[in-house]
């Protein structure tokens, strides 16, 4: 196995490891955690989000796995010499589809760091906020997280379709 092929395998492997962690936690939040926390009292929510809790640990892995997924994905495309073609949506249909998937992933990463995490910091108490501010921040974070949940569906379709020669 030559170095280029080994690099391809390692980058793809890392991309999948980060990606499964990110999207797995995104689905956990949207299908399990958010619906389950809806009916809890403010005191119970404070307990759920206290330092060292499962929810905070999940958020930590969630936001950094998002960074890892996108960075390694872009590195993988660069390694293949397809970065510019994919991001400019040029070339054959499956490569243009991969480009669409890339942009969806980039938008999702932006949403994580620009909207979800800043609002979650208020919800979990890292940034001091009143009860009303916490409620508003929680709703914003939830809606942006749901937006990412929605965007992940075509994103995964185009990522997977690329490997199988979508046309």
């Amino acid at each position: 196995m030559d170095g280029a092929l080994l690099g391809e395998y390692v980058l793809l492997w890392l991309h999948l490891l980060f990606g499964f962690t990110w999207i797995g936690l995104l689905y956990y939040f949207n299908l399990v955690q958010i619906p389950s926390l809806k009916n809890l009292s403010p005191e119970a929510k404070a307990e759920v989000f206290k330092e060292g809790s499962i929810a905070r640990t999940a958020l930590l892995y969630f936001r950094w796995a998002a960074v890892g997924t996108v960075l390694v994905g872009l590195a993988l495309l660069g390694h293949r010499g397809l970065l510019v073609q994919a991001l400019t949506l040029s070339g054959p249909t499956n490569l243009r589809g991969l480009g669409v998937g890339c942009w969806l992933g980039i938008v999702m990463l932006f949403n994580v760091w620009a909207f979800i995490w800043p609002n979650q910091k208020k919800v979990v108490g890292i940034i001091p906020a009143t009860a009303e501010e916490k409620a508003a921040a929680g709703r914003t974070a939830m809606l942006v997280s749901r937006t990412n949940f929605m965007l992940s569906i075509p994103m995964l379709f185009f990522m997977e379709a690329y490997s199988h020669g979508l046309n």
Binding site: P35, L95, M150
Partner: protein, 97 residues
Amino acid sequence: MKNPLETPGTTIVLGLLLTAALYGGLRLTAPAAGPTESTPAVEASESPVADEASASETASGETAATDSEPTATDSESVASGDASALAEAASAEPATP
């Protein structure tokens, strides 16, 4: 009216609709020669299986099918894309009746 993103079920439906819309848009905007071509995830020359298949075709041109079984040395040649080396090695082996 309730925001459709408030429930996971309607979010999934929106995601599926978005997938169909994006795929439709991709097909509609495909270049004239584009729809039938596709880029493999891995270059053909990097795939030992693909190269082995093409090398076997070369080797079996004049010999029996059993002659085209690659040896360990042949596999290395195949992996490096040297189909002629396999053809030469295959033709040097005695033909199996």
